[in-house]
């Protein structure tokens, strides 16, 4: 980002005795991964643009524990969860938005039983609600008429039955949305979930992300839209593997909306 955007933290809000409308849970990928940081920034620009009163935890945020849980380390997961819940509850957080479906799923479904019950939204759902409330304008801009396919993240789609929010946003961008042969509840995984992101795949004939990229390429897209930083990495690698990176971009839905407005 050329110019820095003001990102308020909960600690600052607390010091001023204020409470934000929503907490933006950035997540590990969104905080540290170079590609995912761009998604984080695009989303923050949209929040500013829609005058959303938000804050982040900043250095008080820690991994939700999702990859540990899916790897089988329930102990580490619950340690992370309980620590995070302590912070969230101390700030009396009510509503959380995140651009990572894994954080979304964990915060929404697995934290309540450990004492952390919040209204949790995926950023595409949140952007959709801003749109419905008339706070956010989504226009085609440079994406108008472009051929785009959307890859459903497992932890947003099958895991939580959210299929429409990202598609409705894309539709607003006036793109030509083409579905892959396996989409929505039949969508194929990108290969990153269940802690696979952090290890080498088991022996086989192919990597899962290549298989999924082939699904996407069949639709002859100009852009592959994603809603998850891990899917984004997997699909980007897949496109590179197919030597198509010059003609096909992999973009998060939030990035597309921000870019369309030249934010």
């Amino acid at each position: 980002m050329s110019e820095t955007v003001k990102v308020p933290t909960m600690a600052e809000y607390m010091a001023e005795g204020k409470k934000p409308e929503v907490l933006f849970w950035v997540g590990c990928a969104g905080s540290f991964d170079d590609r995912a940081k761009k998604i984080t920034k695009a989303f923050v620009k949209l929040l500013h643009n829609a005058n959303v009163d938000f804050a982040v935890l900043g250095t008080e945020e820690s991994c939700t524990g999702d990859p540990a849980k899916r790897a089988g380390n329930e102990f580490l997961f619950q340690m992370q969860a309980v620590t995070n819940i302590e912070v969230l509850n101390a700030y009396e957080i009510k509503k959380v938005v995140t651009a990572c479906p894994h954080c979304f799923n964990t915060l929404k479904n697995e934290y309540p039983a450990l004492g952390g019950a919040y209204e949790v939204m995926h950023h595409t759902q949140f952007l959709k609600s801003l749109l419905d409330e008339g706070r956010l304008r989504v226009q085609g801009g440079k994406f108008k008429g472009k051929r785009i396919t959307f890859h459903d993240p497992c932890y947003l789609g099958r895991a939580n039955n959210v299929y429409e929010a990202p598609r409705e946003l894309l539709q607003k961008l006036e793109v030509e949305l083409v579905e892959m042969k396996r989409a929505k509840r039949n969508g194929l995984c990108c290969g990153a979930g269940g802690a696979q992101m952090f290890k080498e795949p088991e022996p086989g004939q192919k990597d899962v992300n290549i298989e999924r990229t082939e699904d996407a390429l069949q639709t002859k897209p100009e852009i592959i839209a994603a809603g998850c930083p891990f899917c984004n990495t997997m699909m980007t690698d897949g496109v590179k593997n197919k030597e198509k990176e010059d003609s096909i971009e992999v973009l998060d839905v939030a990035e597309m909306i921000a870019n369309a407005q030249d934010l």
């Binding site: 820095t4 790897a71 340690m79 620590t83 450990l114 290969g191 086989g204």
Partner: protein, 441 residues
């Protein structure tokens, strides 16, 4: 002498149903070996799921060809079995077509049964062709060698034979009715077997009675044998699909249960009041420390065990599994088949010894390898695909838990990821203090 057939019939019936009941009790006992899990909530939603998914076959038709064909066989089988009531009464008291007094309605019933029988026969042949001629991939994967393959075919042969016997029995009966043979009242409509009857033209009444009686007896004995075959077969799903869809997990698919035993320990560790050096409470020190995760079937919960008996080995899960499609060893169907096989083995062990005696085997490694377990992306495609609401993923996760928490046997990369989370709150080696740096870049 004249009561011999009746007596033989009652003996066959009691033996057939009795042996089946004995085996079903075994299935129930084995399922109860599983750990407790509460599925008594949301009765209406559960009932609704059972009606839609098991009775209404709603998930079967997601693959329209197989789904519609399956519905035809399913309907045919259920409706034709109404005829069983008449057969049983006839068999016990020695009547012939005891319901024939129903007149026009009886004609309607028998006519319908015949049309369904020929439909079932046709569909079963199509199923056989799909398996053995077209060789649909999911019926030919590694875990389908040997018994599972024969099982799938045997079921089809059973159904072919039963339907044929039913029609032959009716055809001979019709011929006898037309000859005016004593005992063979004119009743029923025979839209299908009327075309078989001409083959019996010219046969003597005695010979026809032989044919009719033989077909009748083979048909009822065949059904009793088939009933008992269920226990040894994937065909058990025709019964267990109902409880299985009822007791299935209702939570969002992404939600994995939080282990309560772990919560207890975590809360204790986080409690600033707790004295870490205090001696454990008396009752706790006696009990075995709770085992985390699953290495054998007895560590799984009863719904997971019920799942394994319900699995119909259709392979829809495996054909949607990203790991399997890209050539990894993991097959969610195999996870279910292994669980059932091991549970049967444990059950037999209990039958023999009174209670389970260590046989030096377990589900982990002896059946399911770690290579399979680590290939799962937890994508839930298998759960979504299963027409009877089975979750292979929940078993995979419980076995991973055992590997990690009891054996510290995760792949090195994952151990690195976990120590990163433990030390700096992220799966990569970045400092938690740098978490907001992106806003300055």
């Amino acid at each position: 002498m004249q009561y011999i057939p009746n007596i033989l019939f009652v003996i066959a019936l009691v033996a057939g149903v009795g042996y089946f009941a004995k085996n079903i009790r075994k299935v129930i006992r084995n399922i109860r070996l599983g750990k407790d899990v509460d599925r008594t909530d949301n009765k209406n939603e559960r009932l609704g799921n059972m009606v839609r998914i098991a009775l209404g076959q709603s998930k079967m038709v997601r693959r329209p060809i197989a789904g519609i064909l399956h519905i035809l066989v399913y309907l045919g089988f259920i409706i034709i079995n109404i005829e069983m009531l008449e057969i049983i009464i006839d068999g016990i008291i020695g009547t012939h077509r005891v319901f024939s007094f129903l007149g026009g309605f009886y004609d309607f019933l028998i006519g319908t049964f015949e049309l369904l029988a020929i439909t079932v026969l046709a569909v079963v042949i199509i199923f056989w062709v799909r398996r053995n001629v077209i060789k649909i991939k999911r019926f030919w994967s590694a875990e389908m060698k040997g018994w599972p393959k024969s099982d799938g075919d045997l079921i089809l042969y059973f159904e072919m034979v039963l339907m044929t016997l039913f029609l032959v029995m009716n055809a001979a009966d019709l011929q006898l009715q037309q000859l005016g043979a004593a005992h063979y009242v004119e009743a029923g409509a025979y839209p299908v077997s009327q075309y078989i009857a001409p083959f019996f033209e010219g046969m003597s009444t005695a010979a026809l009675i032989m044919v009719e009686r033989t077909a009748w007896w083979l048909h009822i004995l065949g059904i009793l044998v088939f009933l008992n075959y269920l226990y040894f077969s994937k065909h058990l799903h025709i019964l267990l699909a109902f409880p299985n869809t009822y007791y299935a997990d209702l939570k969002p698919k992404g939600q994995m249960d939080n282990l309560a035993s772990v919560t207890k320990e975590v809360m204790l560790m986080m409690d600033p009041e707790a004295d870490p050096f205090a001696a454990p409470a008396e009752e706790e020190s006696d009990a075995d420390p709770e085992k985390f995760g699953a290495s054998d079937v007895l560590d799984l919960n009863w719904v997971q065990l019920l799942n394994s008996y319900t699995c119909t080995e259709c392979g829809r899960c495996t054909s949607e599994c990203p790991a399997n499609q890209t050539g990894k060893k993991l097959s969610p169907r195999k996870i279910m088949m292994d669980t059932r096989d091991r549970l049967q083995e444990v059950g037999a062990n209990i039958d023999k010894n009174g209670s389970f005696v260590d046989d030096g085997k377990q589900l982990l490694n002896d059946y399911i390898t770690t290579e399979e377990l680590w290939a799962c992306t937890s994508c839930n495609a298998c759960v979504e695909a299963c027409p009877v609401s089975i979750s292979p993923l929940s078993i995979i996760l419980d076995m991973r838990r055992y590997l990690v928490m009891e054996q510290s046997a995760a792949p090195t990369d994952l151990n690195n990821m976990m120590s990163n989370i433990e030390n700096n709150g992220a799966p990569w080696p970045f400092n938690q203090m740098d978490r907001l740096n992106w806003s300055q870049e």
